[in-house]
């Protein structure tokens, strides 16, 4: 009886290890940070998704099949330098995705809502994120920064 129990346990171990191995191979690679470069007081700076300063993510899944995935971006409302801040806006005009790493054929989407698409096993999903900063005039010079979190979920 104890031997059968051990065999069953071993089988479960092998199966779950294999399944879990495939499940955890959702990879996200940040290829670019979002860099607005030099900004000037009183002016708006826009980074389009096609520009070198745009954030870029490369996502790949190795789950069997063709599942729906969602990409959720947690976006800041401002870049911060101490007690000073610069408002930042994200919208569909400066955000896009594609399955290929090319400017042509990109599809704009609203980064404030989850992007839900099908992604074939071993295919890539690229996301480019630009934005707009409106620089106030009553702040100090220096480096203003923040972070964006992207979460990819297999639905």
């Amino acid at each position: 009886m104890n031997k059968i129990y051990n065999i069953i346990l071993l089988l479960i171990f092998i199966l779950t290890y294999d399944i879990s191995y495939s499940q955890k191979t959702i990879t996200i690679i940040t290829e670019n940070d979002l860099n607005f470069g030099d900004a000037y007081m009183g002016y708006t700076t826009t980074i389009n998704h096609t520009e070198a300063g745009a954030a870029k993510f490369r996502i790949r899944q190795t789950v069997l099949g063709n599942p729906y995935i969602s990409a959720t971006l947690t976006l800041p409302t401002a870049l911060v330098n101490g007690s000073y801040s610069i408002p930042v806006i994200f919208g569909p005009a400066t955000t896009a995705w594609s399955n290929v790493d090319l400017p042509a054929g990109r599809i704009n989407f609203d980064p404030n809502s989850p992007l839900i698409i099908r992604l074939q096993r071993n295919d890539y999903l690229y996301i480019w994120l630009g934005g707009v900063i409106n620089v106030p005039t009553n702040i100090v010079t220096g480096v203003y920064s923040s972070t964006i979190t992207i979460t990819i979920t297999i639905l």
Binding site: I12, T16, T45, I150
Partner: protein, 146 residues
């Protein structure tokens, strides 16, 4: 002992199995610097001379006016300007130009081997060409980004 080890692996894998998501961070950065987005600051001119000449004669591209010559795209843009016999080149970023679109400026466009090449002149009655700013030795030029 082996049985317990496998049981632990099953439990850990079960936890991993439940994690069907992945996340990462990206940084955002902007460097706020002093000054205006586009300005031509001529330290060699007397403010009085500047304002006197700038108003009536900027509508023509001639040696009496200010000649602004911008080439390149997005980065490493050269801005050259000439004022009588004085000329100078500055390197600025072209992506700031789009913020300066003004209806009061005139422009000519020249395609220079795939680069964007613009010639601009500030319109004489441009609001940004105020006497006050001229006295601060700053010439604001309205530009159109094409």
């Amino acid at each position: 002992m082996l049985k317990h080890a496998m049981l632990a692996c099953v439990l850990i894998n079960g936890i991993i199995f439940a994690q069907n998501h992945s996340k990462t961070l990206v940084n955002i950065k902007a460097r706020l610097i002093e000054g205006t987005a586009i300005s031509i600051i001529d330290h060699k001119l007397q403010p009085e001379q500047f304002s006197k000449i700038a108003y009536p004669q900027l509508s023509n591209y001639n040696s009496d006016g200010i000649f602004v010559h911008i080439s390149g795209y997005k980065n490493n843009v050269m801005v050259g300007y000439r004022y009588f016999n004085f000329s100078e080149f500055d390197s600025i970023k072209a992506n700031r130009f789009e913020q300066m679109i003004g209806t009061h400026s005139t422009l000519q466009y020249i395609n220079d081997q795939g680069n964007c090449l613009f010639i601009y002149e500030p319109f004489p009655d441009s609001e940004s060409m105020t006497k006050e700013k001229s006295h601060n030795k700053i010439c604001y030029i309205s530009l159109v980004y094409n």
